[in-house]
Symmetry: C2
Subunit: 220 residues, 2 copies
Amino acid sequence: MKISELSQRTGVPVASIKYFRRQGLLPAGRATAATLAEYGEEHVQRLRLIKALTTLGGLSIAATRDVLAAVDQADSTDGTLKAISYALPVPVAQAPAGDEERETEAEAAAEADAADLIAAMDWQVPDDSPHVHGLTTVLRELRRLDANYRLDRLAAYGELARSIARLDLERAADFDDSPALAEQAVIVLALSGPVLELLRRLAQEDQVRRRMEARESADS
Amino acid sequence: MKISELSQRTGVPVASIKYFRRQGLLPAGRATAATLAEYGEEHVQRLRLIKALTTLGGLSIAATRDVLAAVDQADSTDGTLKAISYALPVPVAQAPAGDEERETEAEAAAEADAADLIAAMDWQVPDDSPHVHGLTTVLRELRRLDANYRLDRLAAYGELARSIARLDLERAADFDDSPALAEQAVIVLALSGPVLELLRRLAQEDQVRRRMEARESADS
């Protein structure tokens, strides 16, 4: 198909398709003339993946390139899962800085909390994992801001996170090392976050409404 | 304290403090001269909250203003929780568009799935909730991209989301309608997402590593 049909099929504007080409996110089409290329179903699939990662997944172009490279270099199921996991952007990568001396103390306390929590969960992850760094950052801010901060409450979140990760891997790891199925893993790992966040927000909304109704009927 | 000390205490540059003032996020200090103002502990606390929402929470200035307005107009615990929940930005608000006809079909199928899932969870939420709209968007993309898409698998996420929302509200709702404690609710609701996402990513990393080790010992 021509680039115009590729655009129509995927809803991605021609200019964006050309941009993704230049950025190395999308492979070249088969050249049919000096200025014409023929695209196939693999381009449709790849463009949909790019669109999902950059819009729903919230990935930057650079992060999308890293994730797609991990997909294309898929040598083993588990190796691919690890590469994808590390290529996906970490929330709270941007660490707000404060007063320097207080900051050092707060950082040390948050590092100790992160290590305690990870040990309590029996999670075997390297100290230099970007996720350990991210957890330290968010615990530092919670320690400062959350009047009810208690590490044991966070362990309850940890147990639920473990159950969610199991569901994620069941959906993602059900593949046999082919690139098409590595794409499946990307979709699951990148989009589980937004799905879960929305379900959590819906459950919150439901529970707040039930509290309000219970209170109103108690008042009347 | 002067603005320079407020900056040092919070790690927020003076220029940013002035910007937050102009944007209506931070209340004025007590004027002590034509060009001098005196700031108090309430400004330190508010600035930390602004910093947490805009960096860790990933909120825009406009969304931060909405959330702080909900905090300041806190009239009842539950009303505040609802206002905060609606003021927080919804993931995947940006809906990627595709081929128009296919899009209409896909949208209708995703709306039906979202309604089915919400009914299966017995979540009482209005149809025009931003979270219902967000869920529809992400389900539409999952239907298109996820080869293993099954609504019953998402129901398992729904059950875990319900447990997480309970933990969130236990931490957030433990307050008596005062503005200081509405701040607590904001912190919990806005920062639970990043905390949970990091814990889920750590649990994934641990489980991938265990799979790799099990496979290596099986191979040797």
